[in-house]
Amino acid sequence: MDGDVLALRGISKTFGAVAALTDVDLDVAPGEVVAVVGDNGAGKSTLVKILAGVHPPDAGTITFGSGRVVISGPADAHRLGIATVFQDLALCENLDVVGNLFLGREPRGLRLDEVAMEVRSWELLGRLSANIPSVRVPVAALSGGQRQTVAIARSLLADPRVVLLDEPTAALGVAQTAEVLNLIRRLRDRGLGVIMVSHNMADVKAVADRVAVLRLGRNNGVFAAGEVTQEDIIAAITGAADNAAPGRTASASGPAEPPSGRTASARAGTESPPGRTASARDDREPRRAEEGSRP
């Protein structure tokens, strides 16, 4: 895939006995919004963190622009022009809004130009329809949505080439969500690559060009957003469409018709707690429930 701003090949990452990502590929072209979707714990945030330099990958290669890169820390990612909104926001609660927005990107100089920074903060927050009483309160005093707005505003400060958004609208109100979706479209129009993780199919359909599905830490299909139905995506997410991903054997035994179809089976499961979670999967390193070790 030539012309990609970002291309991942064979990315793997394990945390102890949990294989969070196995052999994942992903491509983003300039001016493209790629939605990464998947069930809870599918490895979406892990993927974002690897790109942002938070975790080093255990295996796999990352190509950025024209060359292979090693992202060994967040500073590397920033240097490459990758801006990230983390799912857990990663704000410093003891700093005020301005402090958080400009953290690590304060204008150089002997003395911080607080006035310019404050003006720019209002501007950025205004662009996102933010609803913040003052930019001089510590972030600890903000509501969940207000914090998320701050985190998103942060990512716009530098002049990124790729923006990673991990569930950026989860805590946002209706107006703010619309604003962020607009923003994503504007970023795309400016030729940036955007990766957006989301559980909200409506949001995905609204802005994504392509939809990459992760399932149990593996690729489970990439769809062109315009050509796929919401049901297909959901099927890929929940595993009913496992065969949509080449090289995977269908391993799911539960019904996959969301939402109500799964309820019964889930409840049935409560009668007999699982042995080892991974015992039914034979095509990947098992994610084993740890031995019943007592703390």
């Binding site: 996959a256 089976s265 015992s279 031995e291 019943g292």
Partner: protein, 408 residues
């Protein structure tokens, strides 16, 4: 994975020793090393000192080491409790000195029996912790400051109490002093205790595994449990045998071990212990879960000061005297450092009762190893610092690999 949990198939019990070994290996690869790194650090210290002076690992010296560890170890155990809830107690040294003084004054000067004097001293420790808790909860003064004030104020009370005498001898033939200096577990009993411990470990593990299997949860195999118990039996048995070649295992050390085990039980198996970890990890979350956070703080302070008082009484009994410098010097720093070296976090929520045991063994091993080398004080200090750093460094490097595996 829902589809997995929905399978009604019961979990097959993992297959014996090999599976257990694999689990253990998995854990090590995953960075979950438990106390292993500290033990490795300890091994480094022991090797170094043994090579410098072969008396270090002699039975006599190890008996000394156990006895010297007990009093600071008990104090450190209290510090672990306070650190676990994310607070600090700088006054454990002063409290230990004060409780020793109170005990001595009641026992020697007033002539009260030990069964009155000792509980009175311990009770005093208890009350001090309660007062700390009240001040902390009501006024929100940082525990650093409260216990700093305690450090100073209680030292004053201690000096005032000893007052004109300055120092009090505990008679060498009193039960208290004999307990701390000359009371050793008879060999037959020490071996019995080892067997009981190993059997207890097996029994509790087995019962737990059976319960898990009954609930179709995965459980460790009986063979692994057996192997573990045999390992414990062999290790403890050898240690006890070695100590028994001279004086044997001191009752004071047994008391310390018993306190460690008791605290371990409380912290890991009771609601209260859960609450302690929760408060240390996220006090606001604990409060929202309906835990009476204030009571947990108070109880942690009380545990800290009470154990400090017990440690003070033990130290006095071992020295057979109480004077103005009892509980002074580096008792404070050693007790806190032992807890930290053993892996207790200063930020709360992380650590176990075994931290006190391992930490105090590290500190006392260094100290004991140095007494056998005829060094100037200046070199003595330098070597202490260097060895401490080395021992904890081993631990930290191992833990760091653990953190990089995502288990901070």
């Amino acid at each position: 994975m829902t589809e997995l949990r929905t399978r009604p198939a019961p979990a097959p019990p993992p297959g014996g020793l090999r599976a257990a070994a694999r689990t253990t290996l998995d854990r090590v690869r995953g960075g979950d090393l438990g106390v292993l790194p500290v033990v490795a650090g300890l091994a480094v210290i022991w090797t170094v000192f043994q090579s410098l002076n072969p008396i270090f690992l002699s039975s006599t010296n190890l008996v000394n080491l156990t006895l010297e560890s007990a009093s600071v170890g008990v104090i450190s155990l209290g510090v672990v409790c306070v650190l676990l809830v994310g607070q600090i107690d700088l006054s454990v040294g002063s409290i230990s000195g004060l409780s020793a003084a109170v005990m001595a004054v009641l026992y020697v000067d007033r002539g009260l029996p030990a069964v009155v004097a000792v509980p009175a001293a311990v009770l005093l420790g208890c009350v001090i912790g309660w007062v700390y808790g009240q001040i902390f909860n009501r006024f929100g003064v940082p525990s650093f400051v409260i216990t700093l004030a305690g450090l100073l104020g209680l030292l004053g009370v201690h000096l005032w109490l000893l007052g004109p005498k300055g120092a009090v001898n505990l008679p060498f033939d009193s039960g208290l002093v004999r307990f701390a200096q000359l009371a050793f577990v008879p060999p037959w009993l020490s071996y019995t205790l080892v067997v009981v411990a190993a059997a207890g470990l097996f029994a509790s593990g087995h019962a737990h595994a059976r319960a898990r299997r009954a609930a179709s949860l995965p459980a460790v195999s009986t063979r692994w449990l057996l192997a573990r118990s045999v390992l414990l039996l062999a290790g403890l048995g050898a240690a006890v045998h070695y100590l028994n070649r001279t004086r044997g295992v001191g009752w004071m050390f047994v008391l310390f071990l018993a306190l460690v085990l008791a605290l371990h039980y409380v912290l890991s198996r009771t609601r209260y212990g859960r609450a302690v970890y929760a408060v240390g990890g996220n006090a606001e979350a604990a409060r929202r879960a309906g835990i009476d956070v204030r009571r947990v703080y108070t109880s942690a302070f009380v545990l800290g000061t009470t154990l400090a008082a017990v440690g003070g009484v033990l130290a006095a009994a071992r020295l057979a005297a109480v004077n103005q410098s009892s509980g002074g010097g580096d008792v404070n720093l050693n007790a806190i450092a032992a807890a930290v070296i053993g892996g207790t976090s200063l930020f709360g929520g992380r650590g176990t009762a075994f931290a006190a045991l391992l930490g105090v063994l590290v500190i006392q091993s260094i100290s004991s190893g140095l007494t056998l080398l005829n060094l100037d004080s200046s070199f003595r200090f330098m070597v202490t610092g260097a060895v401490l750093l080395l021992a904890v460094g081993v631990d930290s490097v191992a833990r760091r690999s653990r953190a990089s595996h995502g288990r901070a």
